[in-house]
């Protein structure tokens, strides 16, 4: 077993993938920043000085304290507090966690639906293809946000506010995941159409393999690289969608702020002195989305030999 992992590690170290990563400074920095943010988010309960979801810890008398370094700051709140007296550092850590969970969760859901429908449509063709792709077309003609707003409003009305607060994060994963699957499905379908005419597929057919085995074991691995690229970009998109929904008041409830709802709650104060409530979470969101996009960009260059810059 050990030799196998070592050799795999060696193989990885000698691969073009690792080689280009080592040489690309932007990719290294982006990866380091992303890793740091993910770690900070995962260990938020250990790192954060306060629990922002526990309303009993909030004191209104601490509201709108500026970050350390400005006059009137309190060292107990390194990044200051919001209008309700929540510690901003803790809230941002927890908020990043929520945003990342929604980003990854939504993309896993999208990828599951997108790959399944894309494979079926591309490989089986005919009526299945026509039906699935028309559904995708119809859905693509609505903007993601609109679909998400309608679905969100229906859920909110039918579950009540408290219930929605508890399941909001899963609802958002579901909403954003379902709203964006056609993106992946179309990419997969295009790759499948190209792959299925190749000899190895004919060979597999001649050998008598079943449709399912050919689809998932033979064709799917050969279409994975565009999926990786698009999934990375979609994570960033999902995080932005969540922030936009929360900013509009349709995402995470104010009692469990994500980055988006945090930005919204500070919006009233941005021009009247308390800029940090909006600006700091805003910067965190921008950095998070930027590094994911930069990594996605780099991944596309690596995985597409035609774009290889040499």
């Amino acid at each position: 077993m050990t030799t196998a992992t070592v050799s795999r590690w060696d193989r990885f170290r000698e691969s073009f993938f690792w080689h280009s990563f080592k040489r690309d400074k932007v990719a290294i920095v982006s990866f380091a920043v992303l890793l740091m943010m993910v770690m900070a988010a995962i260990f938020a309960p250990l790192l954060a000085p306060a629990d922002p979801y526990d309303l009993a810890q909030i004191n209104i008398m601490n509201s709108e304290l500026p970050p350390v370094g400005m006059s009137g700051a309190d060292p107990a709140f390194p990044l200051g507090t919001d209008a309700q007296g929540r510690d901003l550092l803790s809230t941002i850590l927890y908020g990043t966690r929520v945003s990342l969970m929604i980003g990854f969760g939504a993309v896993v859901l999208q990828a599951f639906l997108g790959i399944l429908f894309g494979l079926l449509a591309g490989y089986l063709g005919g009526k299945v293809d026509a039906i699935l792709m028309r559904i995708a077309d119809v859905q693509l003609s609505f903007s993601t946000l609109m679909v998400a707003i309608i679905v969100g409003a229906v859920f909110k009305a039918s579950f009540g506010n408290l219930m929605f607060g508890e399941i909001a994060i899963y609802m958002l994963i579901f909403i954003i995941g379902v709203a964006e699957w056609p993106q992946i499905a179309r990419t997969v379908r295009a790759s499948v159409l190209a792959e299925k005419k190749k000899e190895y597929v004919d060979a597999a057919k001649v050998m008598g393999f079943g449709t399912r085995r050919i689809m998932f074991r033979h064709i799917l691995p050969n279409t994975l690289s565009p999926i990786f690229v698009i999934a990375t970009v979609q994570i960033a998109n999902a995080i932005i969608s969540e922030a936009a929904l929360s900013f509009l008041g349709l995402g995470m409830p104010e009692t469990q702020p994500s980055l988006g709802s945090l930005i919204k709650s500070g919006f009233d104060y941005i021009q009247s002195g308390s800029w940090w409530i909006t600006l700091i979470p805003g910067l965190v969101l921008v950095v998070l989305v930027l590094v994911i996009n930069l990594l996605g960009d780099w991944l596309r260059d690596v995985m597409n030999p035609r774009l290889y810059k040499g």
Binding site: A56, N59, N161, D268
Partner: protein
């Protein structure tokens, strides 16, 4: 000859000047409030927004002046006939927007409609009837001597009886008052006021145009057209004013007062207000709220001073009762009682140490920072283990929910329509009774007939010292019973561009008399 002509033209211009003053009402005023009127039927809802609309499109018999005196409007003069009767003489030659002539029949129609209106009937309960003497004279009769008769007359905005009578094409009664329904009156309007409604799209904009046949030609007002746009976001509303997009905004959020004061093109007017903001605790929905200890615990858990200092930025006075200083019922001894340890102790004594879950609703564009106040209150209640499911709504959706008593704790702000303490109790703490309209806005279903009787007794007491003592006792008992959770009296602020002279038309009731507004 030339000289003579110039003199002639000059004298003509002079003679025409006072007429020209009102005829040249050509200025356009862009107004941004936090919300637009929810209906055009001024008897459908008793609220600040609707009364502001009433003052724009209708005229009251008499109205409050800035220093809380009365000034004649549609009633030219009034005199007391006996201790229960007041005789009013109406102005002649007043026309409604529809062109109909205004007479005392219209006053009678309006008075009867007010007596039917769910929201207004409680204010008009002391009145037993109206006697029409002739076309321009009538008498208001009360069943007992009523010290606030003239205060109440400021709420009579005569409606065009001919316009509101009869049936619509689909057979509905034009005069019907339907709460949150689509009645004829909620979409059509004919009053005697300075402005007519030219176009209205609910929640988007309302356009008012100056009424050509407005009777008050002495009014200095020169605004010919008003465009009212609701802008719910505080920050956006202030930015709209400072960037020149609108001419007049209200309310001004407390955290932006400095910014507007420092802007050389803007004009800020503030007044300390008398509007109480409070929470009701619904005893019919939550069993625990029937226990006075639980209600007291909540009263001890809420930090009024914190809310006033931090969320309202000192732009409010922390309250422990409903009557503001200066009202007869104001009881000096009542102080905010924030004490978390005491609150936890009371919860323990009541047997709710582990707390419970409640729902809470608040508007998010009605009172200054209303949604933030509700959020802060929810956090404060978490300290005594009461978990709050908070929902904030725009006021157009909030009031229907309020009328249905849709949540366990609901936020409301109240300004005493009669500028008198008794009005607070009649609407907010009286035992709810749909028949008489008392307790119409009592979302707590708090009911103590003894206190109600005491208020009724105070209402017919003409010795002011005795009356004050009674009303102060009422405040004390409501406080001891924690019948509701008072938060603060909200201060008032308006802002405009420098060339809009808003100061003279504003008052503590927050009814800007826009008909008299002068734009330079």
């Amino acid at each position: 000859m030339k000289k003579f002509l110039a003199a002639f033209v000059g004298s003509m211009a002079l003679a025409a000047a006072p007429v020209a003053l009102s005829a040249e009402a050509t200025k356009e005023l862009k107004v941004a409030y936090d919300s637009d009127p929810v209906t055009l039927d001024i008897h459908e809802q008793l609220s600040g927004g609707i009364l502001q609309l009433s003052h724009m499109t209708f005229d009251p018999l008499i109205r409050w002046t800035k220093d809380l005196g009365f000034e004649p409007r549609l009633a030219e003069s009034w005199e007391r006939v006996d201790e229960n009767t007041m005789r009013f003489k109406l102005r002649k030659g007043v026309k409604f927007h529809s062109g109909n002539e205004f007479t005392s029949a219209d006053v009678k129609f309006t008075f009867e409609r007010l007596k039917d209106s769910q929201d207004f009937k409680a204010i008009f309960k002391p009145f037993s009837g109206i006697n029409i003497i002739d076309d321009y004279t009538f008498e208001l009769v009360t069943s007992e001597p009523y010290p606030l008769l003239l205060n109440t007359a400021t709420y009579i905005f005569p409606l065009d009886s001919e316009f509101y009578s009869g049936k619509t094409e689909d057979g509905k009664d034009k005069g019907a008052i339907l709460k949150h329904g689509n009645s004829f009156a909620s979409e059509n309007l004919s009053g005697t006021g300075p402005f007519t409604v030219a176009e209205r799209r609910q929640g988007v904009r309302v356009e008012f145009e100056r009424f050509d046949g407005y009777w008050d030609t002495q009014s200095p007002g020169n605004v010919g057209k008003i465009v009212l746009t609701p802008i719910k976001e505080n920050n956006t509303r202030v930015s709209a004013l400072l960037s020149g997009g609108v001419d007049f905004i209200a309310p001004v959020p407390p955290n932006d007062l400095e910014r507007i004061r420092n802007d050389k093109d803007a004009n800020l007017v503030t007044m300390s207000g008398t509007r109480i903001i409070l929470f009701h605790m619904n005893q019919e929905r939550v069993e625990a709220f029937k226990n006075p200890k639980v209600r007291q615990a909540i009263a001890y858990a809420i930090n009024q001073e914190g809310i006033a200092a931090k969320i309202m930025k000192g732009f409010a006075t922390p309250a422990a009762q409903m009557s503001p200083a200066g009202y007869q019922g104001h009881n000096e001894n009542l102080k905010p009682r924030f004490d978390v340890a005491k609150a936890q102790q009371l919860m323990k004594e009541a047997g709710y140490e582990d707390g419970f879950t409640i729902t809470m609703m608040s508007p998010n564009n009605r009172y200054v920072n209303d949604d933030k106040i509700a959020q802060a209150a929810a956090a404060m209640l978490a300290r005594i283990n009461i978990k709050v499911d908070l929902k904030t709504l725009p006021k157009a959706q909030y009031w229907p929910e309020y009328d249905n008593r849709a949540a366990d704790m609901m936020l409301i702000g109240w300004h005493a329509d009669t500028e008198d303490s008794a009005n607070f109790y009649e609407f907010l703490t009286f035992c709810p009774d749909a028949g008489s309209g008392s307790g119409q806005y009592n979302a707590g279903n708090y009911c103590n007939p003894e206190i109600d009787a005491l208020v009724q007794k105070a209402n017919v007491e003409t010795d002011l010292d005795k009356r004050a003592a009674m009303l102060q006792e009422v405040e004390q008992r409501l406080y001891d019973d924690a019948a509701f959770i008072p938060l603060h009296w909200q201060d008032l602020a308006w802002a405009s561009k420098k060339n809009v002279n808003i100061e003279p038309v504003l008052n503590v009731m927050n009814f800007p008399y826009l008909g008299d507004l002068v734009v330079e």
